[in-house]
Amino acid sequence: MIKGWIKSWFADRYDVDQIEEVIKGQVEKPLPENISWFHTLGSMSLFLFVSQVFTGILLLVYYRPTVHDAFESVKFIMTTTYMGWLFRQVHAWGANLMIIVLFLHMLRTYITGSYKKPRELTWVIGAALFFLTLVFGFTGYLLPWNQLAYWATTVGTEIAGAIPWMGNFIKTLLRGGGAVGGETISRFFVVHVIILPWVLFFLIVAHLFLVRYQGIATMDPVSPGKEPKLKEGVPFFPDHVLKEGIVFFILLGVLITLAILKPFDLGEKADPLQTPFAIKPEWYFLPMYQMIKYFPKLVGIFITSLGPLILVILPFLDRGKERNPFKRPISMMLGIAGLLLLVGLGMLGAVAETKKNFFGKTYEFDIYGIPRLIKANAGSSESLQPPQTPPK
């Protein structure tokens, strides 16, 4: 039979038994008893990454990264090509879901204390993966070259320009010139489709290797010396793989449902001469964007960059031995406070510079998200200026 023939072909050339043993060891690797549904979030991030790569490659076939063609080519993908709209929507929603799933994955790791010794490096690489994914989102957002993308990128790079001493240099480097234009689209394109995918790929390989090599953390306190290897537990296959399979299909369903029922509008083509009202970054940047508003430029940037920094070096700051969340009250309080801060700032950012109706009264939110009662149907007031001036 052909199967036997292939097997013997390889057996004559390679040490198949040894390889099979390694694979078997990985497949049947025992996982600790505390492995839960929340432990599938990591593989779901990986699935979303793979999905982004495939849909991204498909989009690349028709996309053209120039000021003239970018918008039209995306429009072409959405209207003319077979199912192109679906691939674009799955790519766009995949990006958003990836950030949510990554965040939940980090949250799970935080709550179960898995980042503690000996897994500090796994956490640091994971945090780097999260921030690189945000950069992925930022660079990809510009590529359709529509009004929202153009101005969000203008504002975003303007913020980088406020960094002391080297800000202007960074801004010019990001934009490839004085203003967001053709050079910016080329740069963002290169970063988005070549540099980031490969950097992410190798970081994922390192992250996964460490996860497999050291095993999943238990809920036991950090052991003083080397952590003992787990001999018995829930086998990876089929027990955990089954969970992953179930969550995978749910996620796939959510992804496609959102892509079809809540599609992203392409909007209007970018017009460098006309700033639309109330420019805001994507939702995942809103908390940081809102935070910056409450402080003088320099202080704001310093404070907002503290958050990510603390997150990256968390395992070296928190040297407590306990992993069980019920035995880490301070960590849990800080975590909840951080979450509330993020959600609160995000919501303030979302309502800032909008008008909303509550109980028949119209409120106008200024850039700080503070509501002011105004009469219904009143015209726009002085305080409703966009937060950033358009570039000259």
Binding site: F54, L58, T80, Y82, M83, F87
Partner: protein, 156 residues
Amino acid sequence: MKNTEDQNLEGPAVLKKEMSRRDFLDWVIKGGILATLSGMLFPALAYLWPVMGHGPKVDMEEVAALDEIPVGGFKKVFLGGSALLLIRTAQEIKAFSAICTHLGCVVDWDGPKREIVCPCHAGVFDLEGRVVSGPPPRPLPTYPVKVINGKVFIKL
């Protein structure tokens, strides 16, 4: 497995085909995964198939003004992603694909000799696009031309 083999030795051959519950579920799962993957593959392949390959455009497109081309002269234009050669004779304007049917070089109009020549491998075509000499295997495709109000229109 061993059990069924034992039975085969004595029992009828039909038993050999009996499927266990385990095999059935195995097929269902593998079949399900395969169906999912092929369901994803088909739209991707259909998406990759050239959109423009569905036939020529219906409309005529303006490619030049009549004044631009003297009698006996020519103009090369680029339309719908391919190069075209316009030649003005005493009576009319003719439009050919400027892509040599041999190896795809762009052909030129040799006015004095009244021939279309390919610079790469010395292929020669006449004013009807037919091969006169050289290696080209097929005549040059021609396109309908209309001249309206001094403007040249071509239908691809």
